[in-house]
Amino acid sequence: DAGVTQSPTHLIKTRGQHVTLRCSPISGHKSVSWYQQVLGQGPQFIFQYYEKEERGRGNFPDRFSARQFPNYSSELNVNALLLGDSALYLCASSLEGQGKNIQYFGAGTRLSVL
């Protein structure tokens, strides 16, 4: 079975541009979470979606938005990119929305903002 897949793997943008990152969860998983990992740091929580509804939001500006589609795939959108948005963006999926569920991470999208 395929794991969590993210696209693209690498992306280079310039300041002020917009970016869309995509995530396909493991088949059967209904919950998707997004994390930002800056070099040298642990992942920071951005959003969590369960059954197409936002169930959690981290401390990120409104330039960051996300959505989940009927097939449970998800997109993370970032507007007006800043140099500080350069990071590895990780998507994680889990079987259910609550409880002690295991989160399975994708390999991430490496975003560089120039």
Binding site: G97, Q98, Q103
Partner: protein, 109 residues
Amino acid sequence: TQLLKQSPQFLSIQEGENLTVYCNSSSVFSSLQWYRQEPGEGPVLLVTVVTGGEVKKLKRLTFQFGDARKDSSLHITAAQPGDTGLYLCAGGSWNKLVFGAGTILRVKS
């Protein structure tokens, strides 16, 4: 805000040595998880500890959850080059994991 502090930040050891990395917080966590992340990959879950004082073993890795559920440790016996990676602890509610900054482990042969 729940914070997790990991120490040391970086560890470079010879193959065969033992090591311990720590994860500490001033907050109580219902559970803590340990992940290992290799370059170019996402974190992979190693273990979840739930009960205060719990000890779990995974081959040469031993994980312990503090009695007060505020801290945890990971001990590796006879480290091997394949253990090289970033070790992350994480905790929090079901819909929002809080991660520590991680410990970078390098095992030299």
